[in-house]
Subunit: 358 residues, 5 copies
C-alpha cells in the first residue's frame, strides 16, 4: 500500500488552525468541491458552491429547514472560512485537516463534532479515509479527503419526496451518512473472509513463504480495521446517549442501529483474526510435515543403499588373500545378502509407518 | 460448510423494512408457514394460518389469554403485515429479515424484541439459525429461518392441561423457547468435546496435516459458537433485570436459569478452546519428535557404514605399492577394524540414549 | 478419566423437578443416606434417617437450635420430599440433581441456595463432585453426590462441647463445610506443583511425546480446576456481602476468610498454568536442541569421510594411464591427503563450536 | 542502549528531599541552568538566573502576570531552594530527583505536580528523559534532566506578541509544553514503523538471527514506549477533569487535545507491536521454508547418486565368477540402468512437487 | 529453590489460632525474639523482651506516645499472648502463622491488619518472606518469619532525634516499614534485568537448553514476584483511601508514595516478562538458524562429493569392455569432469546464497 505520510504538525508549533500554512490563500481551482443541499419535506435544492465566502453570506432558501454542506478535498482556507461562519473550535478545525485522527465525538455548546473513518479496498489492500462531521440543529457540514461515490445513494434518497430522510432533520442525515460509512466495512470483511478460506486449502497443501506473507498482510489490515472500528463503537454508543439538542429524539433508535452494525463489524474482524492466527498454526504444521516427508525419503534411500554399498566395497578390495572372491556362488550370495538386508529394512520402515502411510 | 451469503442491504440504501424488495408481493405458497396457538389454563387451540391478513382482523378466541404466532420462513411481505398489525419498529422488522444479526434485546414501549441464534450440527459442522421474538404482555410472535422441530416438545407441553406453561403467560413461553434454544448447544459441545478427546490419541501417535486441519476447523466452529453465545449471555442477563410489563415477575427466576445455562455453555466453549490450543502444542511436539526419530535412524545408519565403507575403499585402491594387500591376515584385520569402529559407535549412541530408548 | 455423562434434560422439556423421572418412586435401599445432626451449645444428637417422610413430620428436639440434614446420594424422590417440607424453588431442586452445575449463590426469601464443587484426585487425575447447600436461619440441608469423608472432621468438632461451631449457628456450619471443601484444593495443587517441578528435569533431558501428553493433561486439569474456582470466588465474595437474615453478622468475617482461601487457590492455579506453559517452551527448545545434536553428529561423520572416500575411489579406478598408481610413495601420500583433509575439517568444526562445546 | 543506573534511594532510608546527599552544597558551575521567562499579553522578559537564592527574593516584574522557571539539570541543592520558596511537598521534590518516576499527576492545595517522560531516539534506540512540572495559578516550574531543544519553538512563540500563549496563562503554557513532549513520540513511531516495514522484505527473503535480534530490540523499545505512554494517558485524562484553580477553564479543551494525541500514540504503539509479533511468525516460517529447501537439495542429490553408486560398486567387485563382467554390452547396460533409475526418481520428485516448484 | 512446605491446616479442622498445636507451650529459647521500641519526639527506648507475659502487664513509659513491638520468628504461643493483650481477631492471628498468605489489608474496629511479603534473592533465586502488621493508633505490632536486617535503617532513624519518623506516630512507622519492604524489590528486579540482558547475547550466539532452562526459571521467579506485588498494590491503594483513625491524615500522602513504588515494581516486572518472552522467540529462531547452518554444511559437502564419487566408482568397474579405461587422456578427463561438476554446484550454491553469506 502506498502510504500517505501523515499531516502532522511539528512538535511545539502553535495548535489550532490559525497557524497552519496556506490559510490565507484559496485552493487551486478544481482541488476542493463544495456542494450545498437544502432540503425539507417539500423540496430539495442542490447547488455546487464556487465562491464560498459569498455563498455563506446569502440567506437560506425558504421551506428548506435543513442544509447539508459537503466539502470534498481538505484545504485550510476553506475550512477556516466555514469555521468563521459556523463557529467551530480552532482545534476541531485543525483536526479536520491533520490526518489521520482517531474517530471521536466532541460536544460543543450548539453542535457536535464527529470524526469517522471510511474503509475501502484498493488493489486488495485496505485504505481508509477520514470523514468529519459538524452537526448543528438544522445544518450538517461534512468533510471528505477525496470525492467519493459512497454517499450518492443518500443524495438520491434526498431527491425522493416523502422519504423519512427529508422529514427527519439534520441528525437523521448524520445517521444515514454514518450508517453508509460503517456498512462499507461489510463487503471488505467478506472479501477478507473469502481470502482466508481460500488460504486454508493452499496453506495445508503447499505452504510457501509467499502465503505466510499474504497472511501477514491480511493480519496487518485486520489489525488496522480493528483499530478504527473500536473507537467508532464508542462514538456511535455516545451518539445514542448524548443529551444534546442537535440530535432529534426519534433519531436515537436509528443511532442504536448504527451501533449494532459497528459491533457486528467488530465481531467479524475478531472472527477473521482468530482464523488468521489459527491458519498460522496450520501453516507451521504443514511445513513441518513436509520436512518430515523429505527427511523420510532421504532416510529410506540412504538406509537401503548405504549397507549394501559397503558390502560391494568389501568385495572390491584387492587383498591377495580374500577367500570369498574365489568361491563359485559368491556373486549369488552377494545378491542374497543385499536382498535380505533390504527386506529387513523394509520390514522395519513399514512397522514404523514410514512406508505406505502418508 | 456451505455458507449462506448474508442478506445485507447495500450501504447507503434507506433503512427499515419499507424499502425492501418483495414487500408488496406475497410469498410463493409453501415457503412460509404461519402457525397460531391460542392457549390459557383451560384450553389450547392450534391453527395453521393461510390468509394472514384476514386472520389478523379476526377477534381472539375466549378463555385463551395468550397467543403464540410462529412464522417459519422469512419473507418481507409477511413480516410487514405483522409489523402493521402489532406495531413493530421498522428497524426491528428489518432485523428479522437481514441475516445474520447479533443476538440482542431491544426494549420498546409495550414490547420487547429479542434476537437469538439457534445452533445445530449438520455433517459434523456448526450451523446457526436466527430466531426472533416479539414479546407483548399477552402475545409472542416468533420468526424462524426454516421450519425446525426443536420447539415441538414445547408445543406438546402446551397441549397438556395443568402445566405451568399454560398458566404463566407469554413471558414464560418466551422463557421455554429460549431455554430450548440454548440447551441445544449442550449436545453440540459434547460432540466437540468427544472429537477433541479422540484427537488427542491420534495427534500424539500419527500427527498429520489432516488432523491439524480438523483441529483448525474445530477451533473455527468453537470461535463461531463463542461469538454468538457471548451476546446471548448479555441478552439473558438483561431479561433477568429488565423492568418491563411484558415480563411477569414470577418468570424472572426462570430467566436467571437460562442465564445460568448460557454461562455454562460459555464455560464449556472456553474449555474446548483451551483443549484445542493445547492439542496444537501436542501436535507440534509430536511432529518434532517424529522428525527426531527419522533423523536418528539416518544418522545411525550413515555413521555405522560411512567409516567402514571408506576403509573398504582404501583397500580397493590399485597402488602398486600397498603393502597391506599382500599380508596374510589383512582380510581378517579388515573385519576387526570394522567391528571395532562399529562397537565404539554403538557405545557412543547408547550413551547418548539414541539407541534403546525411544 | 472416566467421564460421567452429564445429567442434562432434553432441550425443550418442562423445567423444574416436577417433571423428572423417578419422582414418585423411592430410591433403592442403600443408595441414598440421610443423616440428621441436631446441635446447640449444650448437646448434639446424631441420627441416621431411614423414613424421611415420617422424620420430617416429627418436632425438632429441645435445646438444639440448629439442624444439619446431610443427604449422600442424589435421588429425585428424596430431594422432592425435602423441597416440599422446606419450600425450595423447583429450579433449585432440579439443579441439585442435574449435574454438573456451575458454582453459584441464589438468594430466596428465607434461605440461600449455594452450589459448590469439591475437587479430589483419583489415580492422579482431577475429579470434582457437586455439593449443594440450602441455608436457613436455623437449619442447613446439604447434598453430596457420593458419601465422602472430607466433612468428618467437622462432625467430630460438632461433638466437642464448647466449640465455636456449636455456638454460632447454621451459617457458621455452612462456613465450616465450605472452608473444608475449598481447602481440599490445596493438597491437589501441591501435587500438581510437584509434578510440574518433576517434569522440568525430565523435559530438559529427555523430551518425549509422552511427557508432552502428561503436560497436556495437567493443563487440562488445571483449566478445569480454574473453571470452577473462578465462580467459587464470586460465590464466597457474595456470601461476605449478602444482606440476609440467614447469615449471622459475626460469621461474615469467617466468610471473608473462605474468600481469601479461594483467591489463594486461584493464585496457585494461575502459577501452575504459567509454569506449564513455560514448560511447553522448554520442551520445544529441548527437542530442537536434540535434533541439532543429531544433525551435528551426522554432518561431522559425513563430512569427515565423504571427501576421503572419494580420494580412495579415485585410486581404485582402473585407467591404464593413471601415473600415481605406480609412484613409490603414493600410498603414504594418500594417507597424508586424508589426514590433512580431516585436520582442516576438524579445525573448521572446532571453530564453529560444533565439536567440544555442547 | 547505554543504561543510566536509576537514582534510587537505599531501601529504608528517610524519604523526602531533606535526607538526600549534596543538599547543602551548590552544584558545580555549568551543570545546572536556570532560565526565567516572565510574560504577559504585553511583554516577555527572559533572563538566565545565576544566583537562584537572590533571584527568588526579588519581586516579579510588572505587567508580566505569568512566570516560567525552567531548570535544566537536576541537583538537590537547586530543587530544595525552589521547594522552600514555592512550598513543594518533600516527596514531590524527591521525585524530581529520583529517576525514573512513572508519569503521574498529584494535586496539592494550590498547585499540581506532573511527572512526564519525553522520548527521543539516539542511534536508533529509544531513550526517555523525565520532565517534571509544578503548576501554580500564575507560575510554572519545570525540570529537565538535560538541556534539550524541543521546547525552543515554545520559547519562540512566547516572544511573538498577540499569541494565544501569551494571553492564556500558566496552564496553557503547561499544555503547550506537554503537547510538544507527547508529539515527540510521533516521529519516533514513524521511524519504528518504517523499520518494521523494511524488515518484512528482509525477513521473508533472508531470515538471519541478526534480523530476529533487531526485531527483539524493536519489541523491547515498543514495550518501553508503551509503558510510559499508558500512564501519560491517565495523566492527561485527569488534567481534563481535575477541578483545580490552577487550570483555567478555557484550557480544558486543549488538554482534551493532548489526551487525544496520547491515545493516538498508544494506538500506533499497539499497531507496531502487532506487526512485530506477526513478523516473528513470518520469520519462523521463512526459516522453516529455507530449511525445507536445503533438505530437498540434499535429498535429491543423495537419492539420485546413492543407488547408481551402488551399481557401480557391484561391478567393481573382484569375484572370479561374475558373469556380467565379460558380456559385451555390459557397460552400455550399466548406463541404461543408471538412466532408468534417475528417470524414475526424477518422475517421483516432480510428482511430489520438489522439483520445478519452489 | 528449597521450598518450604506451606503451614496449612488440614481441611476441616477448627479455624482460628485456638486450635493450633504448641499453643500452650512457650517456644524454645532463642527461636523467637521480641523487641520493643517506645519512642516519641523526645526520646527512644529500645529493649529486648524476654518474658512477654510480664512485659505486657507493665505500664508504657512516659513521653513515648508510640510503641513498636517487633517479633522475629513465628510461634503460636507468642502470637496468642499478643492476641489476648491487643485483641486481634482469631483468624488474623492464625494468618500470621499459616504461611503463605496473600498480601491483604483487613480493617477491624480499632486496628488494621496488614499482610505483606518481603522479597529477597538467595543464590540468585527469589525467596519471599511474610511480614504481618497490626496497626493501632499508638502502637504497631510486626511479625517476621526470620530476623532480617532490612529494617535496621529504620531503627537507626528512630534513634535520631528530630526525625519525621519520631514525630509522626505509628502509621508513619508502618509507612516506613512497608516502603522499605517494597523498595527491596528494586535491586532484585535490576538483577533480573541484568540477567536478561546478559542472556540476549548468549541466546543469539549459543542457544543451549541450559539457557532456556535459566530463562524458564527467571520467568517462574518473575511470575511469583508478580503474584505478590499485584495484591500489594491493592493493599497500598486501600491504605491511601481507608477511612480509619489508625492512620494519621498527614501520612496518607506518604502511602500514596508507597503505592507509586508498587506500581513501578509492577511495571518493571511486566517489562522483564515481556523481555523474557521475546527472548524465547529469539532463542527458538537462533536454534533454527543453527540447524539451518548445520544442514547447509552437510548438504554442500554431500552435494560436492557424491556425484564425483559415483564417477570414480564407474571407472573402478571391472567390465572387460570399458573403452574409456584404455584411452590416453582418460585420467585428465576424469578430473575435468570432477572440476566442472564442482564448479556448477558452487555456482548453484552461491546463487542460492548458501555459500558466502551467513
Amino acid at each position: 500500500m502506498k502510504k500517505t505520510r501523515p499531516h502532522r504538525a511539528q512538535p511545539g508549533t502553535t495548535p489550532g488552525i490559525e497557524s497552519m500554512d496556506d490559510l490565507g490563500e484559496p485552493p487551486a481551482p478544481g482541488t476542493v468541491h463544495v456542494q450545498c443541499i437544502d432540503y425539507g419535506p417539500d423540496q430539495t435544492r442542490t447547488q455546487a458552491v464556487t465562491d464560498l465566502g459569498a455563498f455563506l453570506r446569502l440567506p437560506r432558501p425558504d421551506r428548506c429547514p435543513v442544509r447539508w454542506l459537503n466539502v470534498d478535498g481538505l484545504h485550510p482556507y476553506v475550512v477556516n472560512q466555514l469555521r468563521q461562519s459556523f463557529g467551530f473550535h480552532t482545534l476541531a478545525a485543525e483536526d479536520v485537516l491533520r490526518l489521520p485522527q482517531r474517530p471521536k465525538l466532541e460536544t460543543y455548546e450548539d453542535h457536535l463534532f464527529v470524526v469517522a473513518r471510511m474503509p475501502s479496498l484498493r488493489d486488495g489492500q485496505l485504505c481508509t479515509e477520514q470523514v468529519s462531521f459538524f452537526l448543528f440543529r438544522d445544518c450538517l457540514v461534512t468533510f471528505q479527503e477525496t470525492a467519493g461515490d459512497i454517499w450518492d445513494p443518500i443524495r438520491e434518497r434526498l431527491r425522493k419526496s416523502g422519504s423519512r430522510l427529508r422529514r427527519l432533520g439534520a441528525s437523521y442525515l448524520l445517521y444515514a451518512l454514518l450508517d453508509a460509512t460503517i456498512d462499507h466495512a461489510f463487503p471488505i470483511l467478506e472479501a477478507f473472509g473469502d481470502q482466508l478460506e481460500g488460504l486454508e486449502e493452499e496453506v495445508a497443501e503447499h505452504p510457501t513463504t509467499k502465503l505466510q506473507r499474504q497472511l501477514h498482510r491480511l493480519k496487518r489490515d485486520l489489525a488496522r480495521l480493528r483499530r478504527f472500528v473500536w473507537p467508532m463503537r464508542e462514538v456511535t454508543n455516545q451518539l445514542c446517549r448524548e443529551e444534546t439538542a442537535a440530535i432529534a429524539p426519534e433519531v436515537r433508535t436509528y443511532f442504536r442501529d448504527v451501533y449494532d452494525h459497528t459491533v457486528q463489524v467488530m465481531d467479524m474482524v475478531e472472527s477473521c483474526r482468530d482464523t488468521a492466527s489459527s491458519l498460522t498454526d496450520l501453516y507451521m504444521s504443514a511445513v513441518s510435515n513436509r520436512m518430515n516427508e523429505v527427511m523420510k525419503v532421504l532416510t529410506i534411500m540412504a538406509s537401503f543403499f548405504i549397507p549394501i554399498t559397503f558390502v560391494a566395497g568389501v568385495y572390491g578390495m584387492n587383498f591377495e588373500v580374500l577367500p570369498e572372491l574365489r568361491w563359485k556362488y559368491s556373486y549369488a550370495g552377494f545378491w542374497l545378502i543385499c536382498l535380505s538386508i533390504s527386506a529387513s529394512l523394509a520390514w522395519f520402515f513399514i512397522r514404523k509407518g514410514w512406508i505406505g502411510r502418508k
